[in-house]
Symmetry: C2
Subunit: 382 residues, 2 copies
Amino acid sequence: MNVAVMGYGTVGSGVVEIINRKDLGLTVKYILDLREFPGDENAAKFTKDFNDILNDETVKIVIETMGGQNPTFDFVSKCLQAKKHVVTSNKELVAEKGLELITLAKENNVNFMFEAAVGGGIPVIRPLTFCMRANNIRSVNGILNGTTNFILTKMIRENMSFEDALKIAQANGYAEKDPTADVEGHDACRKICILAALAFGNHVYPKDVHCEGITKITLEDVANVAGKGAAIKLIGTAEKLADGRLYIIVSPAVVKAESQLSAVSDVFNAVEVDGDATDQVLFYGKGAGKLPTASAVVADALDCAEHDAVRRPIFWGPEKPDLIADYREVENEYYVRGASLDASLISETLGNDAFITKPITENNLRAKLSGEPKSLIRVAKC
Amino acid sequence: MNVAVMGYGTVGSGVVEIINRKDLGLTVKYILDLREFPGDENAAKFTKDFNDILNDETVKIVIETMGGQNPTFDFVSKCLQAKKHVVTSNKELVAEKGLELITLAKENNVNFMFEAAVGGGIPVIRPLTFCMRANNIRSVNGILNGTTNFILTKMIRENMSFEDALKIAQANGYAEKDPTADVEGHDACRKICILAALAFGNHVYPKDVHCEGITKITLEDVANVAGKGAAIKLIGTAEKLADGRLYIIVSPAVVKAESQLSAVSDVFNAVEVDGDATDQVLFYGKGAGKLPTASAVVADALDCAEHDAVRRPIFWGPEKPDLIADYREVENEYYVRGASLDASLISETLGNDAFITKPITENNLRAKLSGEPKSLIRVAKC
């Protein structure tokens, strides 16, 4: 079956490499990219004109690895309307425009698939959507960004400051020159939005999710929790509350020693899904990188090829007003440093002017603290 | 869509419970069991006659949770020939008769699915078969049996003998009165055979796999490796060797501290799949239990309902002569206690008369040891 690949960057070139080297029944007919790639072995397949792909009826599957929303959303929409299946690794596109695109796909009886958008090469979306669908999902917690996890691992293991660890991540190619999307949590936020939509059935937009990065984490805090075997990680959480609302947040969190997520180090990612039948299930591996991500894209393309006539039932509804609870009004345990609290509200004293609270809302906690704390970090429930 | 459930034991009753309580578009029309269940709320659905199910054309999906091969193989074969999809949680049936049954399913253009046969509620088979299929799989390593992992965890953490830990496992319902299938590794062996067939494409029969249980593990060995942060686990391994043959074995193995499998404790299971695109990916969760296993069965049934017309391409070929290498002729690091070896072949001395070898075949190692060792345990490569 003929496919077209839009975007010949890291992931796109990996997709072409895997399709060329493995006999999977797929043939790359076009590669869309405005850049020049002199001497590339796929030279004959390059085009700068999207219409070459759109108007070629032999192209049944379009793989989008361009990134961003513009012109990607327009291109993907047109492909779906032309009854071509679309596979993407573009988490921004899915987090912001997923509802429109899965709706378009449904209307045109084609598939829109995005396994690679969360967790790179780690199977997460298909297991959550298909293997676990006899469950009511209670929560999803994940280490969803390899760059920040690499930085935090350096801070934890080598007692290195955030700034120094970031420099090493950049030198190793794990962090971009402008690391904002990673270190401020925006990348992880897109991913938890996608997981929340799949797990709970309504589109959740990144703008509605409280998102806090790792730039303010101090070595004092890292050391204070390490004494208990715990670790500070950037955790994306989406949890169904008893009242039906959603607690969804991306922020640093104290992960206790007994959690599987506490052992997830370096650039690795992991997603823990808690279902009412399975209890906690964890998916772990490399969350980014050329071939891991490309392999997930190619698996989606093969799924599309096998489901040319039957649609895969990946779907969720529009955003729901008042679905998202104010994160400051949801009870959690908190790690606090540099302020004091009535002993009856403390569950554990860590020394060094730090303690863990009993479950309390952030608003309540702040009202009861002796002053502005130096650090206030939620304790993850995973 | 109407389904029939054959076998109303732990898993079968869990399947009925999930289908009844969730609106999934499935209806249980028959429950086949020779036993009586007085007062059961599903009384009207019970039958003792398999032909009620076989001859009812409105039953499109048959769920087999009886266990064993007889009369299960006969019943499942007849259902497939009658063009009914079959879902099973029966690892013995799949490991021994999987080739015949997937072939029958293919000939009759129906699906034969068995996600629950490995890892209970943990998604493993679908991720391996579909999400990772753009990979060439290099190896699969897994903690595939919760009972033995519970016993080993007790031995490691509480310095308890195998016999005492087994008694606690039995008292907690984690081990059967006759624990042979678990503690001798037969259960794990069936699972690694299924994973090997899916990963490498040929049926592997349990009788051809070297299988060694945990009854001979001593507290001395547990303590010796614990000093290095390592743990002794019952590991199922299937690895593609450079010459194309398969190294497949179930045995106790030393799992190094840096392996994700070393942190898998109690009744939890985990499967690590190493693919040439993704590198190592891990799936973790509860490998057994009523609702976890039942939820995987129900997910398969839903997949069958959606693929009533299109077949899911789960398939492997017949066993291949000479595919399986003699495990004693494959190089590994080994843990040895109670015999001495030329220092040039030792990679690490552990004290207490124990050491880790450099990579060497077991046959070579035994020839070079000063005598019969008290313990000889492979070091896992995961």
